[in-house]
Subunit: 354 residues, 2 copies
DNA sequence: GATAAAGTGGAAAGCGCTTTCCCATCTGTG
DNA sequence: CACAGATGGGAAAGCGCTTTCCACTTTATC
């Protein structure tokens, strides 16, 4: 139904080949007057190139696929924003898929497999896997991706992967968690509980391992390690469980150092704070909390959340960079910084740049 | 490079047509034994249909374009999540574009035009415009969209639009804002200031108009109306300006009703709360704050933010529904509910479901 | 048992582009 | 002034699929 190149060519009185050369960046560019005529015709007819047809003819689509867990989660949306930015710069379009919703057929199996297959079907030039699932769990996914790479596709994952030839953006989850916990230990805290998040995400695992490592270095062990979903509700529930198990109540023994809850991410930490408040406990006096990520909307939270700041958008940009540049270094590393605020480790209020 | 249908057909010893009929939902389906053979070959060779080629042949792409302002903004990411969900259900892929980043050529002109043109080029079956820009401002955009619709594309916008035949999800911004302000007035507040957000977004304008309408109904006028970007920082700055202009200081005159800041959205309200705290003022005793949207991460905020809860994901689902169903009603309406929490109108703490 | 009605696989014509050749025209040189 | 070398436009062959016809079996009908 839309106007096509043939019509433009006819309208301008030139051949299809010439019209194509004028309208789409070709090595050869026709004479100025001809070009002008073609351009005028295109404009007049409202011609818009059919990217699908171009993709078929050029065998490259200009598409990059981004698969996240939940686009509504600030962690992923920040990354998506970074990806978006790079994609725009290189005139690529991004295809987005989330893995947190069941498929149309009810099978919640591997949502990432479904997303990746769709992307491969659309012949995206690259696929960015921002969900931190263990790929080993899904041999089918691995096979699809390997074949995709063999066929010229580029794959970027966040964190380690078992896919050979995939490019990876390494995030300092382990080291960051260790640093954060170390900073807290340095402030004199000794009693910790860990909200470990979901088992199957390796970001969660790495962070928990980092926390443990720091504690172990001080010959400490967490008083509790409670798993749960990476959501505010997950943090809330896990915290309630913690508080109950450890019998933390209002009138805390002043002699003891307050319990410090280390959450595997900020969203859980947020839920944890709500749980603590709901028990009538004070932060940081009775219980302290630390998170991970430093998501933007929480920077305005009060009390300020101690956390490990990850440059999320930058991670997105890096991933997109690896995805878009055919001969980029196959590896990028990202580290963050410890942010001590009132919720833990920091006894007094300290303003830290809006 | 990837295996194509021709190879599968040859491998299975059937014609191209037959292979196509077996592998992709065709009206005619070949005999069981043949089908099985084809499927086996496809599996063995790792065949993945080329969606681009299919799009070309079928002249429908299975793509839906979503243009948001900033995917990292919880408002948009929640909507995107809803869209995603519906798209998945009907096996569509979503192409995402943001309009908050300058184009690659430095021209920040109309990012939406660029996004829409790209989508049209990719022949998306539908385009969802979730940015709340006034389309009238951009006649080129309007022209492109009209042509797109004429060519069989579907366009969905959030809020009113001047594009004929576009489908629209009407959001109760005006009424919601009025209700919210009315509820606050009913609690006895009389002194208001409005953080009006960016002029060019009509969601902001409608909300402000709603606030004003409620005030006017009580013969009141806002003490100040300060514009600014829809960001936490924007809310912070606007609030500081407000506080300074109105000379609100710590030792407030107890006789007067506290100032209530009505922010055009939650993110700004968040910044406002930070600004208020930074001035050493208490919420809600000295200054009160209300927002709009009820974004999820803020539900755990303390003090709880009074706001107007919009079913963001539902809005996304509705928009996607209108976009995907060729003969859906061209109009959907969404309303929300007033949420009074501690930050304004609600003098005492009331827990409201996690 | 002849004939009409179904059913089934295949050939081929696109879908809208890009790009390789090819040919015609033009420029500069001996 | 004839010829090699540029230069520039056009014809046509794909890119990987869908789908319309067509030809050919089968099956059903009287």
């Amino acid at each position: 139904m839309p106007v096509n190149l043939t019509e433009v060519a006819r309208h301008a009185g030139v051949s299809l080949a010439t019209a194509s050369r004028v309208l789409n960046g070709s090595a050869r560019s026709p004479a100025p007057d001809i070009s002008e005529r073609v351009r005028a015709s295109a404009e007049e007819l409202g011609y818009v190139a059919n990217a699908q047809a171009q993709a078929l003819a050029r065998s490259t689509t200009g598409l990059v696929g981004l698969v996240v867990h939940d686009i509504a989660d600030p962690y992923f949306s920040a990354i998506a924003h970074g990806v978006q930015e790079m994609a725009l710069q290189s005139r690529r379009q991004v295809l987005l898929a989330g893995t947190d919703l069941g498929g149309e057929d009810g099978t919640p199996r591997s949502a990432e497999l479904a997303a990746v297959k769709a992307f491969i079907s659309y012949r995206t030039d690259a696929i960015i896997l921002a969900t931190s699932r263990f790929l080993e769990e899904d041999p089918l996914l691995a096979k699809s991706l390997e074949r995709y790479i063999k066929n010229g596709g580029r794959v970027v994952t966040l964190g380690t992967t078992s896919i050979p030839d995939a490019r990876v953006v390494t995030i300092g989850n382990f080291d960051g968690a260790r640093e954060l916990a170390a900073a807290l230990l340095a402030r004199g805290l000794t009693r910790f509980a860990i909200l470990s998040g979901p088992h199957e995400r390796n970001t969660a695992r790495s962070r928990v391992a980092g926390f443990m490592s720091a504690l172990a270095a001080s010959s400490l062990e967490p008083l509790a390690v409670v798993p749960g979903p990476f959501t505010s509700r997950g943090g809330f529930d896990a915290t309630i469980e913690c508080l109950d198990t450890l019998k933390i109540t209002s009138g805390q023994d002043e002699a003891e150092s307050p319990l410090c809850i280390l959450a595997a991410n900020d969203v859980m930490a947020l839920g944890a704070m709500t749980a603590i408040r709901s028990r009538g406990l004070r932060i940081p006096d009775d219980v302290q909390v630390a998170g991970f990520d430093d998501i933007p909307t929480l920077r305005d939270h009060s009390p300020g959340l101690s956390t490990y700041r990850l440059p999320l958008e930058e991670i997105g940009r890096l991933a997109a960079g690896l995805a878009l540049d055919p001969d980029a270094q196959p590896l990028a590393t990202v580290t963050g910084t410890v942010m001590l605020r009132e919720s833990a480790g920091q006894p007094t209020f300290v303003a830290d740049g809006a």
